[in-house]
């Protein structure tokens, strides 16, 4: 530091920067050039600490992990970002939903944003499935990782629900009828769907407690058919409810990978 002849401007700036109060208030460790400081980097960062400090060699081999979990997370970030941008232009109403989607392609610079969101969503469903397949084939669901497998199963369902709810938002014929068909499955919910097993048992005398206007499907659609209520509910679930849930579960998932001994080793 003292000998300015050997140090370039960049080094001098770096040395000055890392001595400032702002820098020191953010980073509590030196440059990560030793094992100890590298560990400190991981442990003193709220995001990085979710990740294991040390990995097995197999854990970074593509042919072992396929990186499908990491890709799923990456795609989730892409979808969050592009989805946020799409929300600036999209209005979830019968009047505007379809034309806004067309406008996103025709009137907005970088109209590819919507395609990125759409294709990213398809890709995420695929990578999540492949991640699950890899975890299954490497036996990584076995103790002590059973709990994390269960978290993963829930996140798979949330991923599919995100895909399902997003499918309605373009509000074209394909969307409306796909959701009509898909949401009809909710009629058959046990006890809570008006055509489901056991729902006929829930009645007060002659009055059925579960009918077409108060069952699980109605709660999902906000009406008795796929209309404006369904569009708004799916929009809210797609943009806020489901992403919030899956983000919390992802934090738990990553943290449990670390707590359960890191990425599993080869059998």
């Amino acid at each position: 530091m003292a000998d300015t002849k050997k140090e370039g401007a960049g080094t001098r700036f770096w040395n000055w920067l890392t001595e400032t109060q702002i820098w020191k208030s953010i980073f509590r460790h030196d440059r990560p050039n030793t094992d100890r400081t590298r560990v400190l980097v991981m442990l003193s960062n709220v995001f990085l600490h979710l990740h294991p400090v040390r990995l097995r060699k197999s854990g970074v081999k593509l042919r072992y992990t396929w990186c499908m979990g990491g890709l799923s997370f990456f795609l989730f970030l892409v979808l969050t970002l592009t989805g946020l941008l799409l929300m600036f232009y999209y209005r979830p109403t019968l009047e505007y939903a379809y034309t806004d989607i067309v406008g996103l392609r025709e009137h907005v610079p970088l109209g590819i944003m919507r395609e990125m969101h759409r294709w990213g969503a398809h890709a995420m469903v695929i990578t999540v499935w492949l991640h699950m397949f890899r975890v299954f084939m490497t036996g990584s669901y076995k103790p002590p990782r059973e709990f994390n497998w269960s978290i993963g199963v829930i996140m798979l369902v949330l991923t599919l629900l995100l895909s399902f709810t997003g499918y309605l938002l373009p509000w074209d014929q394909l969307a409306i009828w796909a959701i009509t068909v898909g949401s009809n499955m909710a009629r058959a919910t046990p006890f809570l769907g008006h055509e489901g097993p056991g729902s006929a048992l829930l009645r007060l005398g002659d009055v059925p407690l579960i009918h077409a206007y108060d069952d699980a499907r109605f709660a999902l659609l906000g009406g008795s058919f796929v209309g404006e209520g369904a569009l708004l509910r799916f929009y809210v679930l797609h943009c806020v409810g489901l992403p919030l849930g899956i983000a919390v579960l992802m934090a738990v998932h990553f943290w449990r990978v670390r707590k359960d001994g890191g990425i599993s080793g080869p059998l």
Binding site: A219, G222, G223, G227, G229
Partner: protein, 268 residues
């Protein structure tokens, strides 16, 4: 057992209780029965914090209660506190109650149970209210019942004028397959496969669903594609003013033999 341990754990926190001159002396006086009240009163009137602290050190394992009596002596008379001590003694279970558990109404454990119970009940109520929130009281949907005009306004065959708004085809037929008479029936436009809306194909005299290809005769009977059963018919009657009255909340299914119901077909 619990009584033996608790005072020791409390000891480090003695200063706060020690500042209350009445809190500690009574413990010492426990065996004396009536004595604690008078002694506590003396402590309260006499030297205050300094006098109170020394006796805190050899705190004996508190047998039954009298903490309660000890506290009250600071305000109440000696005789009154003694009476209280005797009355509250049976209510508080000496075996399970902590020496610093002073509540006169319930044990601390009972309070906790009450608090958790109330919290759980409030949470359950909030959850139920949240669930109920998802079911609005008013729906912006077309009514289930509507008047469809006079029978004379309809020619033979399928009429599509109410399909868009109410989801119903009104069919006038010279000879129905069930009723064996001429008249009207109202077919719901919901495909019995997965709930799409079929199209009426005039040239082929059938209803054809675009989703998966189910086909229905004009009677509503399914004859092609994956649909497992015929289209449903709705209640159709004549209103007081002579108009057709369609009621979609009353449905008739062929496979259940319900098309023979007199309200499933209007003879005209």
């Amino acid at each position: 057992m619990a009584d033996d341990k608790k005072p020791e754990t409390i000891e480090p926190g003695a200063p706060p209780t020690g500042t209350n001159p009445a809190a500690t002396p009574p413990q010492k006086m426990v065996p004396g029965g009536d004595a604690p009240a008078t002694a506590a009163a003396a402590a309260a009137t006499g030297a205050k914090p300094p006098a109170a602290r020394p006796p805190a050190a050899p705190r004996p394992p508190a047998a039954p209660i009298p903490d309660l009596a000890g506290r009250t002596t600071t305000v109440a008379s000696a005789g009154g506190s003694a009476a209280r001590a005797t009355t509250s003694a049976p209510a508080a279970k000496p075996a399970t109650r902590d020496p610093d558990d002073l509540s006169p109404l319930l044990t601390r454990r009972a309070w906790l149970g009450l608090a958790w119970g109330a919290f759980s009940a409030a949470s359950a109520a909030a959850l139920a209210a949240t669930g109920r929130f998802m079911f609005p009281n008013v729906l912006n949907e077309p009514p289930q019942q509507f008047k469809a005009g006079l029978p004379t306004e309809y020619g033979m065959g399928v009429d599509e004028r109410w399909k868009e708004k109410f989801g119903v085809w009104i069919v006038r037929t010279p000879d129905d397959i069930v009723a064996h008479a001429s008249g009207f029936y109202a077919l719901l436009v919901t495909c019995t496969h997965l709930g799409c809306t079929p199209n009426y194909l005039l040239a082929e005299a059938k209803f054809k669903c675009p989703c998966h290809g189910s086909g229905f005769r004009l009677t509503g009977i399914n004859f092609e594609g994956p649909a497992p059963r015929p289209l449903e018919r709705a209640r159709v009657v004549l209103a007081d003013d002579g108009q057709l009255l369609i009621d979609k909340s009353r449905k008739f299914q062929y496979e259940l033999g319900q098309w023979t119901d007199p309200e499933a077909f209007l003879k005209a």
